[in-house]
């Protein structure tokens, strides 16, 4: 079926709720309204108010309550309306969701998915364009997932719901309705922790995720016309990261470019670059480069283009690496 990412994610939740009555959804406006982006549309009608819960406006309690639900044997899928509001729940995520398995030596676990729209490029209000994935990747005990296509979104969300540990599931808002794709009707899992090589090439490796994927793809198409063949890796799961796929690609290409829309300093690109430096510096024929947003607050609509990486910026970075 040709569907977009919103429909794919909706299908994933619907099918998991049909399969397992421990799966419940909670968040602001997820029920009657079907979510502000309509991700949960139709679920209240199908599963009722006990399983699709419109909560009061309180992010910390949404996550805190979800932790209690999970400990008592349910599998909550919590929606935070925008990533810019997830900080109100940071204590619950970092101090409890991520640690309970360890704190209780495995007696209590938190099979929780926290879904939230993520990323810029949509001309939004302040706090509606955040891409602070690195904050979560830094925390032991959290998994962080970012899909870039409808088919991946479905399989990754199903795998996240079935996972035994808390997953921060970041949905690139810009890609929600960016295009349709053939998505298998039956439920399927895409394993967490596995990257995908979306384009094979031998000249350099480009690592990206989420809404940077179409931008990287456009840049790759352009440089291929000029005889440069990048290998493109969609990381898909940011934590735990598929370090093996990156290293084996770099071993072949000898060059690495990392593209993320988050600010540069301490972004996930820094960890990827450091890891490749530690493990494979002698495979490298050129310095590792990063294309990122600058270390500034995400601008409002009028200034957003200065912030957001575009294909031209990626093309120029590729050429710079290839000159070495």
């Amino acid at each position: 079926m040709m569907i977009n990412m919103v429909q794919a994610l909706n299908q994933a939740m619907r099918q998991e709720m049909e399969r397992d009555d421990r799966v419940i959804i909670l968040g602001e406006d997820v029920g009657v309204d079907g979510g502000v982006f309509r991700l949960t549309e139709g679920l209240l009608e199908q599963f009722g108010r006990e399983r699709v819960i419109d909560t009061p406006l309180a992010e910390s309690a949404i996550i805190g309550t979800s932790i209690g639900l999970a400990v008592a044997g349910l599998r909550p899928v919590a929606e935070i309306q925008f990533m810019g509001f997830i900080y109100l729940a940071m204590n619950q995520i970092i101090s409890h969701a991520a640690r309970l398995r360890n704190r209780s030596r495995g007696r209590y676990t938190v099979p929780l998915v926290v879904r939230t729209p993520y990323g810029a490029g949509i001309r939004a209000l302040e706090h509606h364009s955040e891409s602070t994935e690195a904050l979560f990747c830094h925390i032991p005990g959290l998994k962080v997932v970012v899909p870039s296509t409808p088919a991946d979104a479905k399989g990754l969300l199903i795998a996240s719901i079935r996972d035994e540990d808390p997953v921060i599931f970041l949905e690139p808002t810009k890609l929600y309705r960016a295009g349709r794709q053939e998505v298998p009707e039956d439920p399927y899992e895409i394993p967490l922790g596995k990257a995908k090589i979306t384009r094979e090439g031998e000249d350099l490796t480009i690592v990206a995720w989420g809404a940077m994927m179409p931008i990287v793809e456009r840049a790759a198409e352009q440089v291929e016309k000029e005889g440069v063949f990048p290998e493109v890796i969609d990381l898909r799961t940011l934590a735990p990261m598929d370090r093996e796929t990156i290293l084996s690609s770099v071993a072949r290409t000898g060059r690495l470019l990392i593209v993320h829309e988050a600010p540069k300093t301490c972004g996930l690109g820094a960890e990827i670059a450091a890891h490749v430096s530690e493990k494979a510096i002698f495979s490298l024929e050129a310095p590792i480069l990063r294309v990122t947003a600058p270390d500034i607050t995400v601008p409002l609509a009028k200034g957003e283009d200065y912030y957001y990486p575009n294909p031209g910026l990626v093309v120029r970075a590729i050429k710079k690496i290839m000159e070495q």
Partner: protein, 359 residues
């Protein structure tokens, strides 16, 4: 009965007065065996608590939050719980653990610094200790929501101090409990200090119990040094919760006779005269007088109880001190359900480090 004491008017439930009078109309009909059991738990709590303090001073136990003065509110409330109910404790809850059957060995082991202590034995629905103040209250609400969803007629009790009521999570949790009509019992031990901050600097409310009204919940102010009042209040709130009547906020008015933790010096912020006034309201002495009046207490009983508590405590300390320290694996394997490749690498690096350090 809960509604007969209106916290908005400052009314407080008390059954055993400080001067020994008993409210016969409210007195619970507990068997002599149960009354003596409660007394024994209170005495064991005190003995184990003082032992922990001593061990800390000797360097055999780390920073520790003493329960001295909390014996009635801890034991009295926990005594009413059934095995199917859930408990979300805070970090000053020794009497609660003891009453629920949490191994005393684990209590010592926890404060000695070994995570193994919070591997709660199967069959005990006790949640792990939560250190960030008040942040476990939403967990208790989520757990209660799950019980409701699973159609289990059980209740969920959460314990916390007066300082926690200033946290956002307290407000959010009680609000959720009201909106979703969950089977919760929130028990605040108002021991009048959050480290050095007195409760009058914590809130401008007349009392903490009255805050329940703002969330559409029942609130009840209870004399927290009166073990019978605590038992009656908790039992009633539990029954209400289990039968679908919603949540209750119980404020147990008590006093922390010891320091906040072993790292604190309470003489910096309160007078000895004030502490002395509260020593006169000692919860154990008050209950002892009640047992005496019922011919359930004599010197022989006291010395037997004391001896048993000492033995149990010493045994637990010996077991805790004899527990092996964690292995490197123990620190890694509970991060996720399985080790990630990166964690495997880091674990093997740690093992190498241990070998190198030992050389």
């Amino acid at each position: 009965m809960l509604e007969n004491f209106n916290p908005l008017k400052g009314e407080m439930l008390q059954i055993l007065s400080e001067t020994g009078e008993v409210r016969r109309d409210l007195e619970p009909q507990l068997s002599p065996a149960h009354l003596r059991k409660i007394y024994g738990l209170m005495v064991t709590t005190r003995i184990a608590d003082l032992k922990a303090l001593k061990l800390q001073r000797q360097g055999r136990l780390g920073t520790f939050a003493p329960s001295l003065g909390h014996e009635a509110c801890q034991v009295g409330s926990a005594f009413c719980l059934s095995k199917e109910d859930w408990v979300f404790p805070y970090f000053r809850d020794l009497g609660t653990y003891l009453t629920l059957g949490f191994p005393l060995k684990n209590f010592f082991l926890y404060w000695m610094g070994n995570e193994e202590a919070l591997r709660i034995p199967e069959g005990l629905n006790i949640f792990t200790i939560s250190i960030p103040v008040g942040s476990h209250l939403p967990h208790a609400v989520g757990c209660a929501l799950a019980l409701k969803y699973q159609h289990r007629p059980s209740a969920v009790v959460a314990y916390f101090g007066d300082g926690a009521t200033s946290e956002g999570d307290f407000h959010e949790a009680l609000n959720f409990a009201g909106v979703f009509r969950t089977p919760n019992v929130f028990i605040c031990f108002n021991n009048q200090y959050a480290i050095s901050t007195p409760v009058r600097s914590q809130t401008a409310s007349l009392n903490i119990a009255m805050k329940a009204a703002a969330y559409g919940l029942q609130g009840l102010l209870v004399d927290g040094n009166d073990v019978l009042a605590m038992a009656v209040a908790t039992r009633e709130a539990l029954n209400k919760a289990r039968s679908g009547g919603g949540s209750t906020l119980i404020e147990a008015l008590t006093y922390r006779l010891g320091n906040h933790t072993t790292s604190d010096d309470a003489s910096r912020y309160r007078t000895e005269t004030e502490v002395e006034e509260w020593r006169k309201k000692d919860p154990i002495d008050r209950f002892k007088a009640y047992l005496k009046s019922k011919d359930l207490w004599d010197e022989a009983f006291e010395s037997r109880i004391q001896q048993e508590a000492e033995e149990e405590t010493n045994q637990a300390v010996a077991e805790a001190e004899g527990a092996p320290p964690p292995e490197p694996e123990d620190l890694f394997i509970h991060t996720f359900a399985g080790l990630t490749p990166e964690l495997e690498d880091q674990l093997s690096a740690l093992k190498n480090r241990v070998r190198e350090d030992e050389r």
